[in-house]
Every structure is written in structure tokens, then in C-alpha cells.
Amino acid sequence: TMLGVVTTDAPVTSDLWREMVRISANRSFNQISVDGDTSTNDCIIALASGLAGPVKISSFNSIEGCQLQACLDAVMQGLAKSVAWDGEGATCLLEVVVFGANNEAEAAKIARTVASSSLVKAAVYGRDPNWGRIACAVGYAGIDFDLNDLHLSLGDIPLMRSGQPLPFDRVEASTYLKQAGESHGTVKIHISIGNGRGCGKAWGCDLSYDYVKINAEYTT
């Protein structure tokens, strides 16, 4: 289960605050996955005291509305990433960034599908730069794209370009994954599927033996 409480002293109207929280949740907590199980209790409650100023922010399109949304996104993404980083049994955080989609929602869907893939997560734990599993998850995400536009990279190491696998230094790529695991750091996967302006991010973690151990022993 994930729970969250967000507070701000920004003066904001009720309707706008609810819309802002909805948007930020979609850009943060709704973009993480540890094990693919949706809890009965997931909940974020966000309170705005309004004590920072007298003038209420009421427009989503105003400068101050955009500024507050950006602040809310930053806090909620930071918190959401920390949940994925602390995933049961995890040795590293997985950050998936998708570019070139038609819109943010499509990019986000692909990113989360990759971050949620058990086979991608297990490969990361095994320090296996398995571009095939990543490409597979991109393909079944339910978003249409031209295979010839697919580019993948692991950190700074390109693995696929224009839908074709690239020669790469397997030891270097595996070392990248190993170092992230040993330092409980971040593995970054970059994906491009076209020339659209939509981009999105998702976060997960690797899948280790410890995940099974923890949940086999946790009585429900």
C-alpha cells in the first residue's frame, strides 16, 4: 500500500487544487510500480492552508497556477520515486523515460508498462542488459507506433536504433547495472518511439529473490 499526505500554504481554490492534485498524482504515484499489485488502501490527501498569501490562485493557465503545479509535481514525484526505490527486496530504482509519443498519456503508458514488466525487472536484478525484454514491453503497452522508430538505451549505452539491435559492449552495460545495484542507485532506460512531442516517465525497481521471501512470510 502507498499512502501520502501533501501540505502547502499556497492560496488556491478548491476546484483548482483538486485538478492539480489529480494531474500530479498521474505524473507521480500513478507512474510507479513495485510488483503490479494495486492496493485496497492507496490514497493521497492534500491540504492547502492558504496562509502564504491573500490572493487565491484560481486559474490553471495563470503563471502562478503553472508554478504551483510544477512545485506539486516535484514533491509528489520525489516522494513517488522514493517508494519505488524502497520496493520490497529492491537493489535499485528503475527510471524509464519515453520520448516521441503523440502525447503525455501515451508516453506515460509505455513507460509504466516497461517499469512494471517482471521480465525487465528480473533482468535488471540479474545485471542482464536485455534489450529484447524492454522492446517487448514497449510493444505490448497498447500504444501504436512504427517499429522502425524504436530507439532504446540503457543509461548512456544505445541498445537499439530504428528498431534494429546495435552492437554494444555487454560487459560495460552489465557493469552499469551492477554498479547501480551495489549502490542502490538508479538504472535509467530511455526509449523513443517517434517524432511526437509526448514524453513521460515511470519508476519501478528490480525484482529480487527477497521480494518472494518478504511476501511469503507476510501474513494477510
Partner: protein, 213 residues
């Protein structure tokens, strides 16, 4: 973060939270960084094992505009149903009570009444309306809240409320379950010419694939 009493069993480190770069600066404190907020966390005897804090309270000195996003799981926990019902008719809130240990999910009508009773008791202590109190629960599914232990702890919890970083940290620890780290962060930025603070805390380690609306 060490809170309440000094035993090693209740200490967990804070998560290294990386905030995206932007026109803001990270500041100390989590849910208490913004003006008007207090928080507390303590051990109330709800957890099955250990004496890590398991009860948190976040309050606001004024009627705060409230928003919530909740799991779309049809088998929603009692506190989720309770909060959704309250937010249908109310735009403001004054407090959030959170317990760890029992999820109060799949507990039927008695579980829902537990959530209502807990909100009612907090409201009495804070002298606010019952619908001003939100409830969150986490822990073992299928178990009702250890209500007696919770209610007995409320006076101490309310008396522990603080606008300090320590108050925010204590609350962040108290909401954890299998988490290895507590998760709390705050930022400050200029918004529309005013210095605005946004802070938060979260918990979560397993059963994580949120789908909230």
C-alpha cells in the same frame, strides 16, 4: 529518525529523496514545512511486532482546502470509502489520522464504523467537525483497526502535535510498514510573488501499483 523512546528497534533511516531540478529549493521538514500545519507520530500498540511508531496525526490550524485521490480497486478499504464519502460534500479539512498495522480493508460494515468512530474521536479532541477529519490506514488486509489501542493513544497523540521538523519526521516513520526508510520532503518556491512551501510524506514498499483517481 529516532522518535518517542530511544530504542534501536524504532529507528529507520530517511530515504534519499531526489527532487527534480527547478526554480525551488529543498528545505527541512515534510508535512509541517508549510504554514499552519502540525504533525505527530508515536507508538500506540497497533503493530503486531516491535514498537516502531504506528499512529500519525497531521493537523491544520485553519480550514484547509482538501483534495484526495483514492485507489480504484473496487475492494476499497473502509478509510478510503469514508474519505471519498466525506469529500463528496466537503471542500475543507482540518486533520488526517493515519494508522499502520491494520489496513481495515475487506472488513465490511464493522470496519467502516471503526473508521467513522476514529474520525469522530479525533474531531472531539481537536474540537472540529467529524467531516473535517480524514482517515488513512495501512497494514494487514482483512484486519480491523485495533480501535481500543488507537483511541487510548489519541490524547497523547494530540498533545504531541508539533510544527517542527521532528513532528513531521515522527509522522513519516509512524506510517511505515515494511518500508526500510521513511519518506518526507519539502520545498520552497516563489509562486505569484509569495513564498510558498509544499511538503509531504509517503509510505510504501510492497503491493505497489497505484491506480488512483
Amino acid at each position: 529518525v529516532c522518535v518517542d523512546v530511544g530504542t534501536a528497534s524504532i529507528c529507520i533511516p530517511a530515504a534519499p529523496i531526489v527532487i527534480p531540478e527547478g526554480p525551488w529549493k529543498q528545505i527541512p521538514g515534510g508535512v509541517t514545512a508549510a504554514k499552519g500545519f502540525k504533525a505527530a507520530g508515536l507508538y500506540g500498540g497497533l503493530r503486531a511486532k516491535g514498537e516502531k511508531p504506528d499512529l500519525a496525526l497531521v493537523t491544520c490550524d485553519v480550514d484547509a482546502i482538501v483534495a484526495g485521490v483514492f485507489t480504484k480497486n473496487i475492494v476499497a478499504a473502509a478509510p478510503v470509502i469514508y474519505c471519498r464519502n466525506v469529500l463528496k460534500n466537503s471542500n475543507t479539512a482540518r486533520a488526517i489520522l493515519i494508522n499502520a498495522g491494520q489496513a481495515n480493508a475487506a472488513t465490511g460494515n464493522p470496519g467502516y464504523q471503526d473508521a467513522v468512530e476514529c474520525a469522530h474521536s479525533v474531531a472531539q479532541f481537536l474540537q472540529v467537525r467529524q467531516e473535517d477529519v480524514m482517515i488513512q490506514s495501512t497494514g494487514v488486509i482483512g484486519q480491523r483497526i485495533k480501535k481500543e489501542a488507537l483511541l487510548n493513544s489519541l490524547p497523547r497523540l494530540v498533545n504531541s502535535l508539533s510544527s517542527t521538523v521532528e513532528g513531521a519526521d515522527a509522522a513519516a516513520v509512524a506510517i511505515t510498514t515494511t518500508d526500510l526508510v521513511s519518506k518526507s520532503v519539502a520545498i520552497e518556491a516563489e509562486v505569484g510573488g509569495a513564498h510558498v512551501k509544499v511538503g509531504g510524506m509517503t509510505k510504501g514498499s510492497g503491493m505497489i501499483h497505484p491506480n488512483m483517481a
